[in-house]
Symmetry: C2
Amino acid sequence: MTKRVYNFYPGPATLPLPVLERAQKEFLDFEGTGMSVLEISHRTPEYDKMHNDAIDLLKEIMGIPDEYKVLWLQGGASTQFFMVPANLQVPGKPMEYVDTGTWATKAIKEAKFYGDVKVVASSEEDKFTHVPQDIAFSEGAAFAHITGNNTIYGTEFQSWPDCPDEVPLVCDMSSNLMEQSMDVRKFGVIYAGAQKNLGPAGVTLVIVREDLLDRVPENIPTLQRWKTETAKNSLFHTPPVFAIYMCKLSLDYMKELGGVPEIEKRNREKAGYLYDVIDTSDGFYKGYARIDSRSLMNVTFTMTTPELENKVVEEGLAKGFVGLKGHRSVGGMRASIYNAMPVEGVKSLAEFLTVFKEENQ
Amino acid sequence: MTKRVYNFYPGPATLPLPVLERAQKEFLDFEGTGMSVLEISHRTPEYDKMHNDAIDLLKEIMGIPDEYKVLWLQGGASTQFFMVPANLQVPGKPMEYVDTGTWATKAIKEAKFYGDVKVVASSEEDKFTHVPQDIAFSEGAAFAHITGNNTIYGTEFQSWPDCPDEVPLVCDMSSNLMEQSMDVRKFGVIYAGAQKNLGPAGVTLVIVREDLLDRVPENIPTLQRWKTETAKNSLFHTPPVFAIYMCKLSLDYMKELGGVPEIEKRNREKAGYLYDVIDTSDGFYKGYARIDSRSLMNVTFTMTTPELENKVVEEGLAKGFVGLKGHRSVGGMRASIYNAMPVEGVKSLAEFLTVFKEENQ
């Protein structure tokens, strides 16, 4: 077997090795059923227990109050870009968005198919190097939408924006889910593709406050309504069994680790190593994100020449650091260090970057 | 490890043991990348190769002509129930459906959100015990829709209905995909959840003739259009990587086996064992489906008393035959014997049913 690499790709992303090893071990026989989890019917008691255990674990680890429903859906956050306005639109009320770059921009585009969209704040003029600071959502908004973390730019909300009491705040947390302690009650809806911070690609988490489920009009197709799946506990039709199972194993692991407080501690330590290297490099490495908007999950930086950038990516690759090339719209480098990235991996990368600087400055 | 059972559930369904064993073996290191396939970015060359190999294999095994696009999507056939009318509607033209029971009925329900639906044939009056024989789609229809196999009733089209040249025939093949040789050119669109005949739950196959992609109106959300994904080879956003990978391994296995001709031969042999038991049981077992509509994939039958039905399910379970209980809307028993069910499993079940009859009649 090839030596395990440190995977800094922006997603799908690394998973905890013990989780992968457990899945491999159980692969041919799920819970003594004599079937692989890949083969088991979603109408069996064994599946049902796993499905519900995953929900309960998530509720426990994230501190999700009883008035919220947890859904395992398909189609990624990109599907939620249209599901959110489809379910939360209110005729005559604007849907308000903050534009923090690519993914937020895509969410805005989809909402426009459903009605009046107001972009209340944007950092586009500054090339999305930060999240807007003064955000004022209207009292009359149908809902308010933000993108919690912006993978491409490496920016992140440092605190959640204020939102009028009656206006549900909706957050795409695909890239910062369970990254740090937070109060779920701040939000009406949280959604996230699993493939960065929770599990593999193929399952999408939606956490929705129950009172919001009654807004959806009757004249949209059955599977475009969250209500269809909340009424059936995400079992209206065949769920993505294996992806949910992998999330369950990840959640078991996170709980054992100490839950979100411990994950947050590690995340701050990890991000600290890299930002320290950048900040003490005398401009050899230049952070892309403004310091007041820096992400714990995606550390973005550029260098003085494209040659140096290519060289660091190549030498890094040879040392087992993969996925360091930045998104083409920003250039430079990006280290995605989601929940499952080991501290050791980031520490090694920081050491490598320090040595690289000494050898190349 | 528990002894491997014979899984007769209607889906998710059994997978070939060699396929599972290969996935287990490769689980921690995909193609020498030092990452699990569950972790690998969909933007890597290694992923790209696998993704395209899976498409090429499918095209080869099913004989899909060049003018068709193959998509790996999410959301199951249930999502295609609304995607089909969303993409193929033509203002002023009726969408024509054949109602062969539950799943066809659900597809009809979703089409009604998009326009005028005409049910041109239905076997509802006969409790869906057969597929309608005389089906006349109109020349002026936007498209014609059928459900190839009906899992709940155990009925199946024995030959594809005629359809006017200009009208694309659309088929939900979730439960009879690659079951037997067929001419893809008969169809404008074929769609199927993978979890019965191809792979695990979590990926949906859509095969669409290219000229049909231009019908879709511009005013529907990006991910509700097939065109979004055909333009990006199903990589517009993160695909369900692992589910596609499992399909790829299954397709490798099917090819090695001899492709669809060999699968068809086995499927006919398997179904033959069970229908023989039913037909020679002097009414002890009573087939639900009319003989002229019998499915190769789901063999449905009832018995003279509920007590006997419970008894056969229980005794079967003790012998390692799981999932034999029929759908609640039909009652009785159902043996789902999809492509990956070994001949040996069906033969053993047939023997068990014969002995059970002798002991209980």
